[in-house]
Each structure stands twice: as structure tokens, then as C-alpha cells.
């Protein structure tokens, strides 16, 4: 892990990976969308609306996976003080928030024709909504301080607190639902997956993952560059002699 503490090494690795992951994303989206929209059959009960599942379910998976990555990177940043880990976490947040928003919107669009309601306060949907707020709060914390390193540490702590709380929230809302809804309520959830539907689902999920990897590497690169800009600006503002003193190579 510490081999990648050197940003140049990371940048070289990223430069090697990005073309491949980007190409993979394009390919997987192409094939996945073809299967999702054209080649796969409409559902017996849900007819064509089942196609929404192919963008909705992988998005929900990514939303949670991205948060797990964010929390892990934050933990690495706080515990091992790895200099790139908090940048990776910061880069991940908007992507995760985007997937969460997609999951929520497509979920509502799927729910209305299928189960007759745009939204329902069950444990899963409510937890995803809370997840969105966690992402937004995380991003807001980064931007709330003039001192970037303070924002980084605060956001990292929040990420870890959130990862503990999310299961608790899900469990609580689950309990709350059993309390408030008698058994006659239909269980809203993903239907049993027919094999012919598994292919587009997994293809789209793989496309999302390739997209996530590409974007994460690009965003981390941008964050590294932004950090470099800040340091250079400080160095410049203090004059050329002082600028020389502010670099790591100077003893």
C-alpha cells in the first residue's frame, strides 16, 4: 500500500489502467444496454418495466460499494496516515452520491407502475435515502474548512461514524416497519431473477464498476493536481528563495 504513497507512482499506475477501464466501460455499456433494452424478454408480471431494474439494481449496489470504499479509504487515511487515501475517498464521494441518486430516482420510476406508489418508507429505501445524506454531508464537510487537512480529517471521522450507523438505521427502520405495517402489505423488493434477466443485470453491473474505476482514478488524479496547485501557490506567494525551501527534497 505504501508503495503507492508516492503520487508519481500512483499516477503512472492510473495512466496505465484508465484506458483499459474506460474501454471496458464503453464495451460493457454497449453490450449491456443491448441486452437490457432489446435482447432480454419482458417480465411475465411487470412487462417492460422490468428493464428499469437493469439500471436501478446495479446503481444501488454501486451506491453501497462506493460507500464501503470511501469508509475503507478514510480508515486507511486516519490510521496509517497514507497521504493519498483521503484524496481517493474525496474523489469517490460524488460518484457514490451520483449512483445513489440514480438508484433513488429509478427506484421511484420503477415503483410507481409496478406497485402503484412512488415511494414507500421501508428499510431499504429509507436507508438508501440516508446514504445520500451521508454522502452529501461528507462532501460538505470537505468544503467547510479553509484548511484542507482539517476538512479531510473531519470528513474521515464522519465516514467512519456513518459506516457504523448505516446498518443500525436499516435495522431500526426494519423494526419500525414491522411495527407499523400489518402483514397484509405487499413486500416490496426485487423479484426472483429469471436467468435470462441475469445476463443484462450482471453486464450493467460490470459496466458500472468499470465506469466507477475510470472515474475514481481520474478524480484522484485531479485531486492530486489540485493539492499540488495549492502547495505551489503557497510557495510562489513567499518568493523564489522560500519556494525552494518548501519542497520535500530540501533538507
Amino acid at each position: 500500500m505504501h508503495r503507492f504513497a508516492n503520487p508519481n507512482r500512483f499516477l503512472r499506475l492510473a495512466a496505465a489502467i484508465v484506458p483499459w477501464s474506460a474501454a471496458a466501460a464503453v464495451l460493457l455499456f454497449g453490450v449491456g444496454l443491448t441486452y437490457a433494452l432489446v435482447l432480454s424478454p419482458p417480465d411475465y408480471q411487470q412487462s417492460e418495466t422490468v428493464r428499469i431494474m437493469y439500471v436501478h439494481v446495479p446503481a444501488a449496489w454501486m451506491a453501497m460499494g462506493a460507500y464501503a470504499f470511501l469508509a475503507l479509504a478514510s480508515a486507511v487515511a486516519i490510521v496509517w496516515r497514507h497521504p493519498l487515501a483521503d484524496l481517493a475517498a474525496k474523489a469517490c464521494a460524488p460518484i457514490g452520491a451520483g449512483f445513489t441518486a440514480i438508484a433513488l430516482v429509478t427506484g421511484a420510476l420503477w415503483g410507481q407502475p409496478t406497485w402503484g406508489t412512488w415511494w414507500v418508507w421501508d428499510a431499504r429505501l429509507t436507508s438508501v435515502l440516508i446514504l445520500l445524506f451521508l454522502y452529501l454531508g461528507y462532501m460538505a464537510l470537505w468544503n467547510a474548512f479553509d484548511d484542507q487537512s482539517r476538512g479531510a480529517r473531519a470528513a474521515g471521522i464522519l465516514a467512519l461514524v456513518g459506516v457504523v450507523n448505516l446498518p443500525i438505521i436499516k435495522f431500526s427502520v426494519d423494526w419500525w416497519n414491522t411495527l407499523h405495517q400489518p402483514a397484509s402489505i405487499t413486500r416490496i423488493g426485487t423479484p426472483a431473477i429469471h436467468p435470462a434477466m441475469l445476463t443484462p443485470l450482471l453486464l450493467m453491473a460490470a459496466a458500472y464498476v468499470a465506469f466507477f474505476v475510470t472515474l475514481l482514478l481520474l478524480r484522484t488524479r485531479a485531486e492530486i493536481a489540485a493539492r499540488r496547485v495549492r502547495t505551489l501557490q503557497i510557495a510562489h506567494s513567499r518568493g523564489p528563495a522560500a519556494a525552494a525551501m518548501h519542497e520535500p527534497g530540501y533538507s
Binding site: F133, A140, L141, R153, F171, W176
Partner: protein, 221 residues
Amino acid sequence: MSGLVTILRRDLALASRRGSEASLALMFFVLGTVLFPLGIGPDPNMLARAGAGLLWVMALLASLLSIEKLFQADWEDGSLDLLVLSGLPLAGIVLAKTAAHWLVTSLPMAVASPLLALLLNVDAKGVAALSLALLLGTPTLSLIGAVGAALTVGARRGGVLLTLLVLPLYIPVLIFGAGAAESAVAAQGARAHLLVLAAFLLAALPLCPWAAGAALRQSVE
């Protein structure tokens, strides 16, 4: 230990001298509760059904309003730096200040809740459970709020940010707290809910001051 008691005493003295913050939370709680029947209609059955949850949401918001200032004054005049450097355990400092906050803002609300519950026509069986739930749950709210306050001390638009950070974390406490009254009324007994609230409190007591202390430490670096 005596250092922490001193901090507790100091915060209590400061609060009593300033007076406005404690009464602000209580006033918000009472007046807000009174507004609801005026807003949604006085139908006793509807009020009885909604009453416990309503009181809980108002108590939660009132607690949130006041927790923002937990570290603000000390940060502004530099005493926070002194506290951090004092050598006293940071978690203990957070615990002492949070305890002071709870005593001043939430305890009066829990005491006032039976009266307000009667106003909302909450069933008598639920009133006791509700007050007990508030007593058990509001310390957890204060502790979680302290973590948020520590994270956002000195931040731009700290109050808004604090709300965004803390409200999701409040949800489990709210669910079980309001649920306690409802299940008491439904003659299922509030014991399970109260036990879960107690569990939340026992978990929050060591964890929240520790997280808040870590946040405070990096805020004064």
C-alpha cells in the same frame, strides 16, 4: 476526575448565567408542540395517534438547536485550545460538557413532556413510557450531537452542516423512542423499546466522546 467535574460545574454556571439557551430549547419544545394541533386540527384521536411521535420530533429538534453551541463559545474565546492542551482526557471533557448540555436543555423537556402529552390526548399508558423514553433517549441525542458539533466547530455554515450530519444518526433513537409510547398504548409493553434505547445509550457513552475528542483534537491543531 475533579477536573471534569469542574468543567461540568463551569458549563452549568455559564448556562444559568446566560439563561437564554436553556429556555430557548424548552420554549421551542413547548410552543412547537402547541402549534401542531393548531396546524393539523384538534381531532383528539388523530392527536392521540400522532402525539408521541410529535413530542419526540420536537424534543429532537430542540436538542439539535442548542447542541450547535456546545463548543462554539469556547472555540471563539480560545478556551477550547486551553482545554485540549490541559492534559485532561478529551473524551472526558466532551462527556462533561455534554452532560451539562443535557441537564440544561433536555432534562427540562423530559420533565415537561407528561404535561404536553396530556395536552395532545396521548393515552395515559403511553405518557409514562414516553417520559421514560425521553429520559433514556435524549442523552444519546446529546452525545451524537456533540460528535457533530466537534466535527463542525469553526466551520463555515456550521449550523446547517451540523444538522445535515446529525439528523440521519438521530433516526434510530427517534424510531425506538416514539415506538416506546406507541407500544405501551397498544398494550404490548414498552420494555423492548426502552431496553434498545438503553443499549443505544450504553454504546454512545464510550464511543461518542471518543469520536468527538478526536474531532476536537484536529480542530485545534
